[in-house]
């Protein structure tokens, strides 16, 4: 596979430098003098015919002359890929890398044709890394800047942009004059006064067109042996030589291109870091990460990457602050400037946001039905009446209400009815309704994502906490501890707690004593399997409070020694007295068969007996 030769006509000596290409020419010379030492890669771009290839080849020619041992490879992308394809078809698997393996200075022209060629990009990426790892220099030429090459691999884009990107603009009037004169001189000819100026005034879009026009003038001079005058040029070229339209803006751009180049080139990694430090300090952000980088040697690419990441973190901090403000304008987290202004603590800032989100998230709500009226349980059931009493005045009696009974007895429906009763009576009451499993899962999630404080604050808002299937928390430590604290907080705030489980608290294995005593401190009622079947056929109610066994008697909450007893629990007779007078009284004998009032199955009776016997 052959390589392309450098065209000996293209040297630095015959490259006319003007304002539009000064930066590109200076950078090219520096690279040619010391390949691999500065501006690696050098990325040159311009519209067609403005001298990219000339400069690229001049670099190669100069580097070969100054460093004879250097392996210079010049390729256009198309030629390179054609050669690689042929080699691959001939069975050479690593054709691409082999082709560039020995290059010390790779000059790659027309790289814009990489657009959309993923395979070629991958290969170039690998070859690039091998080459630069050996200290090799890369010079690229394109008709557009790297960022405008479509579908360019991000890694290649980073590499292309990692050195110096220099563009070549259209030469301004004065440079066009010099180009015309110097090209004539190269051909050993002299232009009559005014000819170069006249040519320079023609609307050429690039240097090639200017050269073509000059060639016509020179051909006439050579072939006819006479000097072409300025007046003849228009006729000779077959175009009207109009005075170049006043493109003042274009001239302005050309004139300041050099000044922009001054700003962006030759700025060291340290200077970029220091500038970023001062800028972000001025904005009130901690810049320790950048300061550390400033104290250690970093390349320009590393510095840019660091600054890029830093600014991305700053942006995230800003959006976190804005989000917290949106969720809660009074959030105390907004005062945590040591976190919200420190990109090194982005993780903590995320945790702050998560806490605020957790805190401000709406509480889990009960289904909208059933209400007590829709309940498929007899209104006369003791548990239903107790729940209704709690629903009508939450937090003032039977706190907590603990309903237990086998699966399918209607506990969940009863709890929902209670919650809906509270909701209908005072819609502003903060209600949380969830199962013990959900409660535990939410806590685990909050622990995992480091926003337990927010989770806790969220549930502390509840003034009615309904925890169904609370059995699920048995045997847990952290969940019970959190529920214990939450219990006290809600009671202290005058809120109501309601629990449901298959068994009574004392039968719930793995329930901590402090929680068990609290659950028993209000009213514990049983809702048995037969309750639904008994609907309408065997109304179960008790005649009077005196008939109620001692273990369901209401007690004053004991959720903490300092709990003020604002409302002493009303006697259960309050509830029972509200029972419809028309309901028949149970015969005394039947009372003892009521599964609602009597504990028929004592849990762990063996343990008790053992203890008693011991």
């Amino acid at each position: 596979m052959s390589t392309l030769d450098l065209d000996p006509r293209f040297t630095f000596d015959n490259f006319v430098v003007g304002a539009a290409n000064r930066l590109a020419a200076a950078a090219a010379r520096r690279v040619a003098d010391a390949p691999g030492a500065a501006y690696n890669p050098l990325f040159l771009y311009s519209a067609s015919g403005l001298g990219k290839t000339h400069l690229v080849m001049a670099i190669g020619a100069h580097a070969r002359r100054v460093h004879p041992n250097l392996t210079v490879v010049y390729e256009t992308l198309e030629h390179l890929l054609e050669g690689v394809m042929s080699a691959i078809q001939a069975g050479e698997r690593d054709a691409f890398r082999n082709r560039l393996r020995h290059a010390d200075l790779l000059l790659l022209d027309d790289v814009q044709f990489l657009a959309g060629r993923r395979g070629a990009q991958e290969e170039l990426l690998r070859a690039w890394d091998l080459l630069t790892a050996r200290g090799g220099q890369v010079v690229l030429a394109s008709d557009r800047p790297p960022t405008e090459i479509d579908d360019l691999d991000q890694r290649l884009l980073t590499r292309f942009s990692g050195g110096l990107i220099a563009d070549i603009g259209s030469p301004e009037y004065e440079t066009r004059i010099v180009i015309a004169r110097s090209k004539a001189e190269e051909r050993g000819q002299t232009l009559a006064p005014g000819v170069a100026e006249t040519l320079a005034r023609v609307e050429f879009t690039n240097v090639r067109e200017l050269q073509g026009a000059l060639n016509r003038v020179l051909a006439v001079q050579e072939l006819e042996g006479r000097t072409v005058t300025a007046e003849e040029v228009a006729h000779l070229l077959g175009v009207g030589v109009e005075t170049r339209k006043a493109d003042e803006f274009g001239a302005f751009l050309n004139d300041i291109a050099g000044a922009v180049g001054e700003v962006v080139s030759g700025v060291s990694a340290e200077q970029r870091l220091a500038d970023a430090i001062l800028r972000w300090e001025g904005e009130g952000f901690r810049t320790r990460r950048l300061e550390l980088a400033l104290d250690s040697p970093v390349s320009e690419i590393e510095a840019d990457t660091l600054i890029d990441e830093f600014e991305s973190d700053v942006e995230r901090l800003r959006s976190i602050g804005a989000r917290i403000r949106e969720l809660d304008p009074e959030a105390p987290e907004l005062e945590r400037l040591e976190v919200l202004r420190n990109p090194d603590r982005l993780h903590d800032a995320e945790a702050l946001l998560a806490a605020v989100e957790a805190r401000t998230r709406s509480l889990p709500q009960p289904p909208t039905s059933p209400s007590f009226d829709e309940l498929a349980l007899p209104a006369s059931l003791f548990a239903v009446r107790a729940a209704r009493a709690v629903g009508e005045a939450p937090g003032t009696r039977y706190n907590p209400l603990y309903v237990h009974g086998p699966a399918g007895a209607g506990k969940s429906a009863l709890l929902v009815a209670l919650a809906n009763e509270v909701r209908s009576q005072s819609p502003d009451t903060a209600i949380a309704y969830l199962t013990g499993r959900e409660f535990a899962d939410e806590l685990m999630d909050a622990i995992q994502h480091n926003h337990v404080d927010g989770w806790r604050s969220r549930y502390r808002r509840a003034r009615l906490l309904v925890l169904d299937d609370v059995d699920a928390i048995a045997g847990t430590e952290r969940v019970q501890e959190e529920l214990f604290h939450l219990f006290d907080d809600i009671v202290r705030a005058g809120g109501q707690l309601v629990f449901a489980a298959e068994v009574a608290p004392r039968a719930l294995a793995g329930l901590e004593e402090r929680l068990r005593t609290r659950m028993e401190s209000g009213l514990v009622v049983e809702l048995n399997e037969g309750a639904e079947e008994a609907t309408g056929t065997e109304p179960e109610t008790t005649g009077s409070a005196r008939d109620v066994p001692a273990w369901v008697e209401p007690r004053v909450p004991v959720a903490g020694n300092d709990v003020p007893v604002a409302h002493a629990e009303p006697d259960l007779t309050d509830v029972l007295d509200e029972a419809p007078q028309s309901e028949p009284q149970l015969p005394v004998d039947d009372f003892f068969r009521s599964r609602e009032k009597v504990l028929w199955q004592w849990p762990y009776v063996e343990d008790w007996l053992e203890t008693e016997a011991g």
Binding site: T147, D167, F249, A259, E262, L294
Partner: protein, 208 residues
């Protein structure tokens, strides 16, 4: 405050046209606006009074395209020249990277020119900007009118800092781009210097 962002490869500069009322600041921007290709400019925003004087400011965003790999943008502003709009002038001046002082070359406007220049210095100092170090050029406008004050005399009166000064006729465009080019180069040079300074500045405050 101009911005050079190496990550996004962007440069943004703010240039303010300052000067007494009716000296031709808006005409400068209008001329530039007329010569900038459509794709390179945003709409020119002018907030004028019913008497067609600039009440608040003119704003012309220019996209100079990608130069040396950097997307380069300039924002040109004018301030209202009338004495009583000083609060607006201060506001517009905030964050400026350079100033074009547009003076009226007519003899009867000499006092207004000097008063406006004094006001510029005061406002810069209020913003903690040292006028002597701040990129500035002078434009002696309305040179096409008869009987205008000579350049030398204007220099004596206004250009005590020896900044670049350009004769201009903003309505016809003479000198407009020369002025813009000069201030742009000064601003960019100042930016370039800024990048040479901060390493020492960071080190001097104790290395963070």
């Amino acid at each position: 405050m101009s911005l050079v962002n190496y990550s996004t490869k962007e440069i943004t500069c703010k240039i303010v046209y300052y000067g007494p009322g009716r000296s031709g600041k808006t005409s400068n921007l209008q001329y530039v606006h007329a010569f900038v290709p459509e794709e390179r400019k945003g709409p020119m925003v002018s907030l004028a009074t019913e008497t067609d004087r600039t009440l608040f400011f003119d704003f012309l965003p220019l996209d100079l395209g990608t130069i040396s790999g950097f997307r380069t943008r300039m924002q040109l502003y004018t301030v209202p020249g009338q004495v009583y709009y000083n609060a607006t002038r201060k506001l517009v001046l905030r964050g400026a990277d350079g100033v074009v002082f547009v003076a009226d070359s007519q003899r009867e406007q000499l006092e207004e020119n000097m008063e406006s220049l004094r006001n510029l210095h005061e406002n810069l100092l209020e913003e903690n900007i040292e006028p002597r170090d701040f990129p500035m050029v002078l434009q002696y406008n309305k040179r096409d009118l008869p009987g205008v004050v000579s350049i030398e005399e204007l220099d004596d009166l206004l250009n005590f800092r020896g900044v670049p000064a350009f004769p201009a006729s903003a309505l016809s465009g003479n000198g407009v781009f020369d002025t813009l080019k000069s201030i742009s180069q000064l601003v960019l040079q100042s930016l370039s210097r800024r990048f040479r300074a901060p390493v020492d500045q960071v080190a001097a405050r104790g290395g963070g």
